[in-house]
Amino acid sequence: MAPKPRQITIANTGQTIACLPSQTILHAALAAGIDYPYGCASGNCGTCVSQLDSGKIAMLARSDTSLSPDQAKAGRILACRAQPKSDVTLTWLGRGRR
């Protein structure tokens, strides 16, 4: 049975898109035509740092410098590393802003 897509709501634009559990939220957003901020798209630069407003995600491998433990504790995630484990609402925190 094909995995069920999760519903991802991007608060900045108000759009809700589908994202497979094996897909990253960034890639799903870009594929849907959303101008989500990103840089390395591989967990190194932190450009796509976002606030997880609700829902659960799993994070793929990333560098220590891309997201501090305090940021992670405060619910910040990297959209390029985040795979949804439930329906999710998130807010990107701006280009260059953390």
Binding site: L30, N44, A61, D64
Partner: protein, 196 residues
């Protein structure tokens, strides 16, 4: 008190950078020079007991840089890198030369060439030109604008040495390339940042 390994390591790193300066003074940052530097770095990475795991904390996430010797005044930056299995970096161009050598583990470096003319901001096309598996006894060297991606293979952390033409804190803009999206994004340059 500093451990014996730390003292020996500091001496060995200083000696390496002295040799690197001698090479670049004679040959500049040419491929020949970078190859010679790579051989020196591979030699350093192979020295037993210089880089004991207990001296270097593992990443909190999956990738970490430990400064070994960072020169002042826009000098070189030598780091010990630890990347855990699965850690990757999309194709990128540091804007500055780089040499890597493995201490343990395996990391795949894939090299790319940009094929578009750069006339459309944010758009880029790259093609793969080669691949190197960096594992103990080997390394790789990249010129200022070479493009490469990295990925840790296997189940062991990839621990290695990375030497850059500038310290990470003084890096120029890094360009990232995303073949699946035919896009490119750049990070801000740190060349004019006030040193911490």
């Amino acid at each position: 008190m500093a451990s014996t390994a730390a003292t020996r390591r500091a001496r060995a790193c200083a000696a390496l950078l002295e040799q690197v300066h001698a090479i670049t003074a004679q040959h500049g940052n040419t491929p020949t020079a970078l190859h010679a530097i790579k051989l020196k770095l591979v030699g350093l990475a192979k020295k037993p007991g210089l880089f004991p795991e207990e001296d270097f904390a593992m990443p909190v996430a999956q990738g970490r840089f430990h400064p070994l010797l960072v020169e002042d005044n826009d000098g070189l930056g030598l780091y010990l890198t630890i990347n855990l299995p699965g850690k990757e970096a999309a194709p990128h161009d540091h804007g500055i030369w780089c040499v890597n050598a493995a201490i343990s583990g395996r990391e795949r470096h894939v090299f790319y060439r940009r094929t578009d003319d750069g006339s459309v901001p944010g758009r880029a096309e790259v093609v793969i030109t080669g691949e190197v598996l960096v594992q103990p006894g080997t390394g790789t060297a990249m010129s200022d604008h070479d493009i490469h991606s990295t990925e840790v293979l296997g189940t062991e952390p990839a621990i290695g040495l990375a030497l850059y033409g500038y310290a990470l804190a003084r890096f120029p803009s890094v360009a990232f390339y995303h073949p699946a999206l035919n896009s490119t994004r750049t990070s801000p340059s740190r060349r004019h940042a006030v040193p911490a």
